[in-house]
Structures are given as structure tokens and as C-alpha cells.
Amino acid sequence: MALRIDYTHSLRAYDADVRLTVPPGETLALVGPSGAGKTTTLRVVAGLVRPDRGVVSVDGETWLDTVRRVDWPPERRRVGYLFQEYALFPHLNVSDNIRFGAARETSVDELLERFRIAPLAKARVRDLSGGERQRVALARALARRPTTLLLDEPLSALDAHTKVGVRVQLHEILRDLGLPTILVTHDYEDAAALADRVGVIVDGVIVQEGRAADLVARPRNSFVASLTGASLLLGTAVAACDGLTEIVLDTGGSAWSTDAETGRVALAVQPWEVAIGRATPDDSSLNHLRGAITSIVPHSNRARVRVGDLVAEISASSLERLGLQEGDVVVASFKATAARLLPLGR
């Protein structure tokens, strides 16, 4: 049975107004800037925050209904809450942490085995690495036999090296559990890797919801586009011939898109759509922007090359073949079909 949330709650800067349904076995990622209401949503589900108005139900059980004056205390709600930075109890060892909330039918030893932390059973929390802490925290949350999972930035406390491996494991665990899961992250890559659906939350409101790939392909506005990793070029769109739109860029020059739009727009283009060359290529791409490389960030077998406002993702071998260096003047090219025209805003 699904997790259903519908609440409004006034926060310092704005009112959060969130409606979500997460079916069992689905992971929904809430993505947005800090202070957007992501953690508040988790806390409302867990009963740690009482919203001004709202309903929370899981598995047909109503945990909160402000109209009917239902408000279960957190200890009655069967949530598995993975806190940011994990909130392990520093005065208890690993197995006592897991045992703290364990249901009667839970075997702590089995959990220790399953999460490959059995050798650490008697270890003190402060002696654990980031990845180990995360596994202990997850085991502790699952020992409760929760009916819903809430994960608050489960990967942000890990270094980049550990993160990718942990992410794969976490994805498998979530798939095996089959619980309705809400995952909060500010990292779109994590959201895309772990979640079936992504909700972009800004100032307490979900501005767009869909599969990760859909949000990349059809972002609702410039904010969603930039969150998915797209580069933004700001300008004014004017109608041109042949079904093309010309965008007069604020930074000078023009770009073309197959999207129909007029007025102030953001042109969004994903890094993998942008090619880098020493000279203007003679190919099908209509958009060529010349500029100096401001940064090159290697990323496993690829590299992200920044030219002005554009980021291009190219293979490490291309980077080597072209011998690109920071400061080199290059041409960044992308096709008009890859240029999304979006309204500005959040």
C-alpha cells in the first residue's frame, strides 16, 4: 500500500504545500535547493514536525489527519528514517545501535551479516568510516521493520570515492525492500541513479514531478533544467524562418533552437550535447560559441569542459587527442534540436 502525504505548513520564508503519493516499491527523490522543504516533508511523515494542516497515511493506516485530530507520535509510526549524517548513538556500539529499535522478530545478527558489518558489531561508532556508518544507520532503520523508508541525503556524508559503490548497494537494497521510499537529495545524479521518480521542490512546492529522464528531456523551467545539470544561456527569443527560433544572447551573438518561444528565455543544453573543437566544425550543428576554456574537471573516463556559460562533457580520449588546456580558445557546438527554450524562474 502506498504512502500518501498532503500537508501545508508555514515555514520562515514561505508556506510548504506538498502532495505526494508513493506506491510500494517506488523510490521518489525530492530534489531542490537547501531550505526548500525537503527535510520538512520527511519530518512530517515521521511525526517529528506537526504541520499546520495535513494528512499522512501509509499502508491504509492514518498517521496524521489534522482535521480528524489524528496525530500518532513518532514512536508509533513505522518509518525507517535515515538521517543526514546518520545520527548513530555515540554511546552505543554498532550492534546496540541496531538493537535499539529492533522489532521482536528482527534478528540483529542477520542484519549485521546482510550489511557486512558483523566484524564491527562491538565497534564504537566514532571508529567507523563514512560508508560503514551509512550501513549501520540503514540496518538500524530496517531493524524497526518499517512500512515506509525516509532517506535524508543518504550519500552526502560520503566522499566521492566511496559514494558510487555505496549508491549501487543502496539501489539494490531499495529494490529488494519494496517499500514506498522518499529520498531527499540536492544531487540530481544521485536522484537519477536511485529513484524511480523525481520531484523538484522549490520554496515548499513541487514544481515538477516525473521520471528522471523526463525531467532532463522536458524541464518545466530554467531552474529544473539547471538542477538536472543543463547549462543555461539567457537571452531574448525572436521568431525566425524554417521553424527555427533565434535567441539573441545577453552575452552577445545568437543561438538557434527548434523550440518555438518568444521573449525572455533560458536556452538549456545538456553537457553531453555540446561538442568542443579547435575550429568551427562543418557539421549539422547550428550553434557555435567561441570562448576560452575556464575549467576542465575530469570525471572517471570523461571530462567536463567549461567554456563561458556552457559545459561540455567529452571523453577523456578526446580531451587528450585535442590536447585541451585551460585558457585555450575553442568552439563549443550544439544542435538546434538539443537547445531547449524555457521560461525563466523556479
Binding site: 515555514l11 531542490g32 535547493p33 537547501s34 531550505g35 526548500a36 522543504g37 525537503k38 527535510t39 520538512t40 515521521a46 511525526g47 517529528l48 507520535p73 513518532p74 514512536e75 509510526r77 518509518v79 528514517y81 538521517f83 543526514q84 549524517e85 546518520y86 545520527a87 548513530l88 548513538f89 555515540p90 554511546h91 535499539f100 529499535g101 561508532v125 566514532r126 568510516s129 563514512g130 556508518r133 538500524r140 532503520a141 524497526r144 535524508d152 541525503e153 552526502s156 556524508a157 531527499v184 540536492h186
Partner: protein
């Protein structure tokens, strides 16, 4: 110049303490402790302070938790009330206790009809000690509870622990070092209690005469006995000071933030 000033200050502070031990040979001090006045005072102090500390811990430990978990404004008001006895002159505390519990005091009539008379009894000593010492414990305990990372009790709640279990299994252990330091401070204040006790409970040897009161009385009768009792109090105070230092160090060690925790702001 700085060295001279520091030297002078240290000498001034340490000299009286050293003088207690230096004035009379140690064997004479030990012998003086064998006098009835000294033995009675030790016993009275031990009994009254033990009961007082039990009361302070029993009521203070949950009360401080309640205060620490209130919203800021209510908390500040309650903490100020609790701190009042700290800044009160001891004579005022004695008068206040008399005005409340004395025969002619606010509760005097009620206690009289119930047949309770605490004047010049150990109950009066315990009340005086508890009154002046408990704020030390409460204040330190409130601060200790407030030093707990709030996500830990929250995590315990989501793991099925009700407020009582969170208090017993999370709050008390995590605030343990601070609670210990607060208890030590309250104890040190309690055994040194003088002004309120002498006004409220009197100084009857074997009943209400504590170590501090005995020093005052022996100072007229036998200076050596006064010195011997003082030496005992110096030893106790020194031990308390040392244990508070060790506890605070241990506490700062045990609540060191998780080394892997990033300093990113929590998302809203």
C-alpha cells in the same frame, strides 16, 4: 612585571590553603579529627549531604530535562528562577527558609497542625543544603541536556522509543558527564553550606552542626580542631574540583562531532 603580578596572585590564593596544613604537624591534625566535635560534624555532614544529593539527583535530573526541552522563552524564565538561589546572599536564604518553613513562617501553621516541627533538626539542614546546592546541579544539567545533538533523540523516537525511553536511554547517558560535573559542583556547595544552615537549623553538635559550622565553633574552643576539619574540607573540595575537570574533559571528548560528518547546512 607580568610574572611578578601572577606570582603575587598565586601566592595570595594558595597561601591560606597551605597554611591550614603547615601551621600544625600532621599527626596533631589527625589526632584533632578524633575529637567528638569533629567526628559528630563529619557524620552530620555526611548524612545530610547524602540525603540532599539523593533529593537533588532524583528531582533535578528529570526536572532539568523538562526545562531543557521547553521552547526558548519558557526555558529562559524557568532557568532564571532556578538561578535565583545562586545569587542570593546566604543570610537571605536562611531568612527565606525560616519565613517559609519556620514555626511562624508561611507553611508553619500547616506543619504545626500536622505535627511536623523541623526547627533545629537535620531536616532543616537538608532543606538548607538542598536549597543552596540544587541550582548548581540544575543549571549544569540543563546545559548538558542542551548540548545533545537534537537529531539523536529524534532518531530514537523514529526507532520506536517513547519520551521516557529517550530520556533514560539517550538523554541521560549522553548528558552523563555533564550531570556528573553538576552533581560534583552541587556537592561542593552543599558541604560548604554555612549561612542558611546556621540561621535555619542552628549549630547543635551531633544534630545540625555540619563541618563548616563546627569550624566556626571550634575556632573559639580549639584552633587545632578547626584546622583539622578545614583540612578535611580542603581535601574534599580539591577532589571535587579535580573530578569536575576530568568530567568536563571527558564530556568534550565524548561529544566531539563525528569526524566524517560534513559541515553542509541541513536542507529544509
Amino acid at each position: 612585571m607580568l610574572v611578578v603580578a601572577t606570582g603575587a596572585a598565586l601566592l595570595f590564593l594558595v597561601l591560606p590553603v597551605v597554611a591550614i596544613f603547615a601551621r600544625v604537624p600532621p599527626d596533631e591534625l589527625l589526632a584533632a579529627l578524633g575529637t567528638d566535635a569533629a567526628k559528630d560534624a563529619l557524620l552530620v555532614t555526611a548524612e545530610t549531604n547524602l540525603i540532599s544529593m539523593i533529593l537533588i539527583l532524583l528531582f533535578g535530573t528529570p526536572a532539568a530535562y523538562w526545562i531543557a526541552t521547553r521552547t526558548s522563552r519558557l526555558r529562559d524564565a524557568v532557568v532564571t528562577l532556578v538561578e535565583l538561589p545562586l545569587v542570593l546572599p546566604p543570610a537571605v536564604a536562611g531568612i527565606g527558609l525560616l519565613a517559609a518553613f519556620g514555626r511562624l513562617g508561611l507553611l508553619g501553621g500547616t506543619m504545626d497542625t500536622l505535627g511536623i516541627d523541623i526547627a533545629f533538626t537535620q531536616v532543616a539542614v537538608i532543606l538548607a543544603v538542598t536549597f543552596v546546592a540544587s541550582p548548581f546541579y540544575l543549571r549544569t544539567a540543563v546545559a548538558a541536556y542542551e548540548g545533545i545533538d537534537p537529531t539523536l533523540p529524534a532518531a530514537a523516537r523514529t526507532l520506536g522509543a517513547g519520551p521516557g525511553r529517550v530520556f533514560a536511554r539517550i538523554a541521560i547517558p549522553l548528558a552523563g558527564a555533564g550531570l556528573g560535573a553538576g552533581a560534583a559542583l552541587a556537592f561542593a556547595r552543599g558541604i560548604g553550606e554555612f549561612g542558611a544552615t546556621i540561621m535555619f537549623a542552628g549549630s547543635l553538635q551531633g544534630t545540625t552542626q555540619t563541618l563548616s559550622l563546627a569550624i566556626y565553633e571550634q575556632f573559639d574552643l580549639s584552633f587545632v580542631v578547626a584546622l583539622a576539619i578545614s583540612a578535611v574540607l580542603v581535601a574534599i573540595s580539591g577532589t571535587v574540583l579535580l573530578s569536575v575537570k576530568l568530567l568536563t574533559r571527558w564530556r568534550s571528548g565524548s561529544t566531539t562531532p563525528i569526524p566524517f560528518a560534513p559541515t553542509t547546512p541541513t536542507s529544509g
